[in-house]
């Protein structure tokens, strides 16, 4: 994937009516909307932003859009996932519920470069307050998230009462938009967007990199304060807003408020690759104790990492394409995260300590089944994929990688599973971290070359081409005999494997029956 040369599409929309120009030098222009990577975002849309190092994006509402000098910025008012404020939560949490930040303090809203936006999402307010237009049940079902409660970031309290103002905005603009203004977007449209978005983030990374370099001081400053206060305010499951971003290509509830000068939440489309946004609520779950000073450099490095990996990853690209089609089943997707390439995610998770390697599963289990099992047994959500190698792995012993949300979740899972989780009579066991697998060598063992051959330039090329042609070996060549040798060896191998696997199966059966007694 050649990410470095493509530029993400961008164009400004309407200029803000409320504030045309601003800033000390009158060089700041405010806008009401913009199109980024062929997705239109307006003030008060709900969006996803990606934080480097986190598998999950954050959800926020665009409350201001502007351009100052060459930099495009958005101010984002944050939503919190139940996980992030679980220490302050009591009582039941609704499905798809998130909480709007309110009050004053760090964690309420942040300024980010516009390029940090990863997509739109729908957030519907179901508060019974009279100022809020009640959503239809269809809207509510189709929305990505719902909210009716507010989390005061200063007092760290939850409330159902609508505050008068949040971040200097009238609360009206933050509630549901008028009915006529809801546009539904066809699945196809979103699909189209998604594919472009697929290419988008890769290019966003180099973009962001340059932004980082220029605005490094600014960026550094924000996480500094953010991290400092965060660590005081929030324990454990942080206020960081890595949020799952399943975008539903259903009715996009554009929330253009009458004043329309605040960026709105918009339906975001899942991005397969990771963007390096600079939301300031950026404490990667695993490293909450990271010193503020380290953070910007970490981000820049990973962004480079991401760029390189994105350009060289081939298989992950394919596996991430099903993104838009999977959107339809939100129920199952609830715990699925952004469609980042699986291999990239594995590496990240390993770095963060959230990767667990589970063994002795039933080989029939697919990804969804494993995730469900973990959810039922441990009440933890994760992404899992079975990873057996069809040729060599023991079919009695199913293996999978599971990525949890936090390091502590992964640790708990490991200790719990190892202590005695038995699934259909099979005790599971697991360990943390990535298995060491050697890189495949250049040529296959058994592909012979004729050495000492003086080959001319043209002949060498021909030989190269010859390597990539394939054929059935004919009985009159020497090659045929050699090939037969290999087939013989293979047959023997297969037999050996079969015997071993049968033996294993018998052992297990007899063991199980012995225990049963």
């Amino acid at each position: 994937m050649d990410g470095s040369n493509v530029n993400i599409q961008f164009s400004w929309g309407k200029k803000s009516l409320k504030r045309a120009k601003g800033g000390a030098k009158m060089d700041t222009l405010f806008y009401d909307s913009f199109t980024f990577d062929n997705v239109k975002y307006s003030l008060y849309d709900c969006v996803y932003l990606f934080n480097n190092g986190d598998p999950e994006p954050y959800i926020g509402k665009i409350v201001k859009i502007w351009q100052q000098n060459q930099a495009k910025k958005v101010k984002i008012l944050w939503f919190f996932l139940p996980d992030e404020i679980q220490n302050y939560l009591s009582g039941p949490v609704m499905e798809k519920e998130i909480f709007l930040a309110s009050g004053e303090g760090i964690g309420l809203a942040d300024i980010n470069p516009l390029e940090a936006i990863a997509g739109k999402c729908t957030v519907v307010c179901i508060s019974k307050d009279e100022r809020n237009r009640q959503p239809s049940s269809r809207e509510q079902a189709m929305a990505d998230y719902i909210f009716y409660r507010f989390f005061d970031v200063g007092k760290c309290t939850l409330s159902e009462q609508l505050p008068e103002k949040i971040a200097g905005l009238e609360v009206n603009v933050l509630l549901n938009p008028k009915a006529e203004q809801i546009t539904s977007c066809s699945g196809r449209e979103v699909l189209g967007v998604d594919r472009k978005v697929l290419n988008g983030p890769v290019t966003a990374v180099p973009l962001l990199q340059s932004v980082v370099k220029e605005g490094e001081s600014m960026v550094a400053a924000i996480p500094l304060t953010q991290v400092a206060v965060k660590e005081e305010n929030v324990r454990k499951a942080t206020k960081n807003v890595p949020k799952p971003t399943e975008n539903v290509p259903k009715a996009i509830e554009s929330v253009p408020k009458s004043t329309g000068s605040v960026p709105k939440p918009t339906d975001s489309v899942p991005k397969p690759t990771e963007i390096v946004p600079k939301p300031t609520e950026n404490i990667p779950k695993a490293t909450q104790k990271v010193l503020p000073g380290e953070r910007p450099s970490k981000r820049v490095k990973s962004s480079e990492d991401v760029a390189v990996q994105n350009m060289t990853s081939d298989v992950p690209d394919r596996t991430s394409c099903p993104g838009p089609l999977e959107l339809a089943s939100r129920q199952a997707d609830r715990s699925k995260w952004f469609k980042m390439p699986w291999d990239l995610r594995l590496r990240n998770a390993d770095q963060q300590g959230t990767l667990v390697y589970i063994q002795n599963l039933d080989i029939q289990f697919g990804a969804a089944e494993i995730e469900e099992l973990i959810r039922d047994a441990l009440q933890l959500s994760c992404i899992a994929k079975p990873i057996n190698h069809p040729t060599y792995d023991d079919p009695n012993n199913g293996k999978a990688y599971a990525i949890f949300r936090t390091k502590s979740a992964a640790d708990t899972a490991v200790s719990k599973i190892n202590s005695g989780l038995v699934v259909c009579g099979r005790p599971l066991y697991c360990s943390k971290g990535l298995l060491k697998v050697p890189k495949p060598s250049e040529t296959l063992v058994g592909h012979l070359t004729i050495c000492n051959l003086k080959i001319g330039q043209r002949q060498r090329e021909e030989q190269k081409k010859a390597v990539s042609t394939s054929h059935c070996s004919q009985p009159n060549t020497m090659e045929y005999e050699l090939a037969l040798d290999w087939m013989l060896v293979r047959e023997k191998q297969e037999k050996k494997f079969r015997i071993l696997q049968k033996k294993h199966k018998e052992e297990r059966k007899s063991f199980a029956s012995k225990i049963g007694k």
Binding site: N360, P427, V445, H447, C472, M478, L500
Partner: protein, 203 residues
């Protein structure tokens, strides 16, 4: 809820269909790309998709493998027959590839299967006998895993041996032919023939 179940059934039925049409090829060279496979199989089947299997679990240098999705089941059978009757060589000689039918568990991104029992239970340390039993079972499984790995290693070593043998054989043959060629070119063969009184006339 009914629709989602139906959807799930349908997805799984589609998946099963796909499995039927797919063949699993291994003993591939790491240099082989999807276009090579497409070209290779074009004589008997149209390739829809190629997905390479990434090795996550085997700590040795193993050959590549791929799941190749074809147009339909008939083509899949034709391809399998072709590759099993004759040594089919893709990209490099003389080690042939192996092809077998794909199975659902080979696919990494498979849809959930209905009706799979997922019952689980916790065995606490307090249930002494059961706990001991489970521990023993787990050890057994670990041992089996180690045995499996050992077998794999053993086989890879065998393959290496065979490859070395064949390479030597090939080199020997090559030298022989080379020598014959040189002699012929230089004409010393005529001298030798003369010396031994053998006529070189071709029959």
């Amino acid at each position: 809820m009914a629709t989602s179940e139906e959807d799930a059934k349908k997805t799984y039925a589609d998946f099963e269909n796909k499995v039927k049409r797919t063949i699993y090829i291994d003993h591939l060279s790491p240099q082989v790309t999807s276009s090579v496979i497409k070209a290779a199989l074009s004589q008997c089947a149209n390739v829809v998709d190629v997905e390479f299997i990434v090795n996550y679990t085997v700590p040795y240098d193993i050959p590549s493998a791929a799941l190749v999705e074809l147009d339909d089941e008939i083509q899949a059978k034709a391809a399998l027959d072709l590759m099993n009757d004759f040594p089919f060589i893709i990209g490099g000689m003389p080690r042939p590839v192996r092809a077998i039918r794909a199975k659902p568990e080979m696919f990494r991104d498979r849809p959930p299967r209905l009706g799979i029992k997922k019952e689980f239970r916790w065995v606490k340390q307090e249930d002494a006998t059961e706990y001991e039993g489970i521990k023993k079972l787990r050890n057994l499984v670990r041992r089996q895993e180690a045995e499996n790995m050992a077998l794999i290693k053993n086989q890879l070593e065998e393959e290496n041996e065979l490859a070395k043998q064949q390479q030597e054989l090939l080199n020997g043959n090559y030298k022989k032919y080379d020598m014959l060629e040189k002699i012929k070119q230089k004409g010393s063969i005529t001298n030798l023939a003369h010396h031994y009184g053998i006529s070189l006339a071709e029959e």
